[in-house]
Amino acid sequence: MEFTNIDKNLPNGENMGGIVQKIYFGFWVDVETFPTKPVTPATLEDNASLTGNIVMKTGKRMFEMYITDDTGEFNVEPVGEVDGKSFVLHLNFFHPGMQKKILGFINAAKNDNLVFVVTDAEGQQYLMGDAMRPAVYQGAPNGSGTGKETAARKGMSCEFTYKTGNVHVYTGTVPLTEATSV
């Protein structure tokens, strides 16, 4: 791989923060194949790109979740000591209300392995989970519950993390319908 100049590159001047109001999730064990990480990338861009699609096992699919605007965040945290650097990717969001569906999701997800696809404000996607490691629940960094005042925002915040050697962009699809064998 060759280094190249890295210029200011904001297509159409866009550089909006945050993530969109839909996140996509599934059980890690339900994934048949993950997109592949770069092996011998020729360019810097290739070195940050996954190839292929996330494909689910027969009868399984990904799902979408609504999150409150301006509560979702995808964060890249470098970790490790010298010669041992890697990343922890963080997904934080808030889902309004305390309906049975979101409570059931947290009940199921808290000790299980998941995979997420997160989309930023420019439509660039990030996959949390690979063939070796899932995304896992960390807690509720912004609180979960009814709040104190009547004006409080009732609902559930969540944080999930995924450990990875490198950070990649996912350009594949998200199947919201069940996979079949043919």
Binding site: P35, V55, E64, G172, T173, V174, L176, T177, E178
Partner: protein
């Protein structure tokens, strides 16, 4: 219209989130043939072309050729 030229494979026809195009519902008829053609040509894993589609879009006959040609990342990588 698009269902004359393409067939959904490997999933139950339904919603798929596709970069650039957003969420497409392949159980409905309101996807343009041009969008399907672009997806098919970009190794979209869930569309196969029909013989009629091959004739219409590429001007080739299906004689002596497989009726369904799939273009997937899996098949490309062997």
């Amino acid at each position: 219209m698009w269902k004359k030229y393409f067939k959904v494979i490997k999933i139950i026809p339904g919603e798929v989130v596709v970069p650039v195009y957003g969420k497409l519902d392949f159980s409905k008829d309101n996807i343009s043939v041009e969008v399907c053609r672009k997806l098919f040509e970009s190794d979209f894993p869930y569309l196969a072309i029909t013989a009629e589609g091959r004739d219409f879009l590429y001007g080739t006959t299906a004689t002596n050729k497989p009726l369904i040609k799939t273009k997937t990342v899996r098949s490309r990588n062997g």
